[in-house]
Amino acid sequence: MLIQKEMKLADVLHHDHNLVPVINRFDIHLGFGEATIEEICEDKKINREFFLTILNAYHDHQYFPKKHLQSFPASSLVNYLSKSHRYYLNEKVPEIESYIDDLKENKDLNTETYLLLKNFFGQYKTELTQHIEREENLVYPYVGQLEKYIEKGIVDRSFLEEMEAYSITKYEEEHDDVEAKLYDLKNIIIKYLPSTGNDSSYYKVLRELFMLENDLNDHSRIEDHILVPKVEAMEFTIKNMRTNDA
């Protein structure tokens, strides 16, 4: 289903309730009654094209926005991506940690195994945090600079050189290593934990891990298909701009 501006947001959520955290990142919260997407965007001063692009990209894995990329500023995209980072680190990860803590209550599981899992997830958390920090400290400010120069219409030569050294294309290659740990953790829980006859506490952890993995996949799809092409187009514009030798 292609999500369009005339639709009621309530109908969209009936169709795909996984979009609730997504609309939250736009500061939209449940309780909007019969309002359409168009009305909500107007009311909340949200860039409609951008909102629709994000909803569709999450909802339909094959969605390629192509021509709509120009209709919103890169800064809103970066702002959105940072908010979803906060969601992973401040909500999802602690949630999973608390489910892992609940494994303690399972009398059949020995403390040693419980600690192994806890520790392993701790390592994963550290890596995820580092990965996110690198994006926020390196990539996002870079996008902000590109936007600033495009607005000014003139670019410093020193920045051009910097741009040659670090292009967004490189960044694409950097971000698929954190996934391996998450994959391993799922496999260990499914295949190698000692059988205890009571899977409900395992299942809770597992369900959350699959959900987090899904979220992160959606997130990197948005980076690959929306952020990267948009930034590449900006880099291209800047390369053809007047330079300021200062």
Partner: protein, 202 residues
């Protein structure tokens, strides 16, 4: 862990993208890892970075500089390049590709052509490897990995070539479905292949 074949698709048409994906889903081990519409900058670089097993290209994709693209990805390592052609595709385009699929063929023929191109790999993909249990040698190597030794150090210690160690390492990772050293560590501890004190003192 079942072997997987990763596929990259270069296809500008949404209808053809969906059609090809539906066709590939007939093989449980094939997975489309990325779709490009041909307009991307540095396309060859992006494709190569993802190291796909199979690359399917529609030469009719608008905005695609086919010749220079094929030249850039030419130095491929084990990547199968398949051109998506029709009855009308000129011979000089067809001959650019090591393999082709004709999208006017019926489903059965398309699947047979894919099997012919990808051979055994496509059939073993998606099926679990036989004999999931680790051999004694693999267990020894797993233990050394967990204790923090590099491939070279393991090779020296066990009087093996580094190539043999790498192969064992790859096999045991595939069997267990665990890729990271910390994941292997958890496995080894649960199965009492190593003692927690050995790891703490490494």
């Amino acid at each position: 862990m079942p072997e997987r074949l990763s596929v990259i698709l270069i296809e500008g048409s949404y209808l053809l993208q969906s059609g090809i994906q539906s066709l590939l889903s007939e093989f449980p081990g094939m997975r489309v890892t990325a779709i490009f519409d041909g307009s991307e900058k540095h396309l060859a670089e992006k494709v190569l970075a993802k190291k796909p097993d199979v690359l399917i290209i529609d030469p009719n994709t608008a905005n695609l500089e086919l010749l220079s693209f094929l030249r850039e990805i030419d130095a491929n390592n084990g990547m199968q390049v398949i051109g998506l052609i029709s009855n009308e595709t000129p011979d000089n385009v067809v001959s650019r590709f090591p393999h082709v699929l004709n999208f006017f063929e019926c489903k059965y023929d398309l699947l047979e052509s894919l099997k012919a191109i990808l051979g055994k790999r496509i059939l073993s993909a998606g099926k679990s490897t036989n004999n999931q249990n680790l051999s004694e040698r693999e267990k020894t190597i797993l233990t050394e990995i967990v204790l923090g030794l590099t491939n070279q150090e393991i090779a020296d210690k066990l009087f093996l070539s580094i190539h043999t160690v790498t192969t064992h390492r790859k096999n045991l990772t595939n069997k267990l479905g665990i890729k990271t050293v910390s994941g292997l560590t958890v496995y080894a501890l649960i199965n009492k292949l190593v003692d927690i004190h050995d790891i703490e003192h490494k």
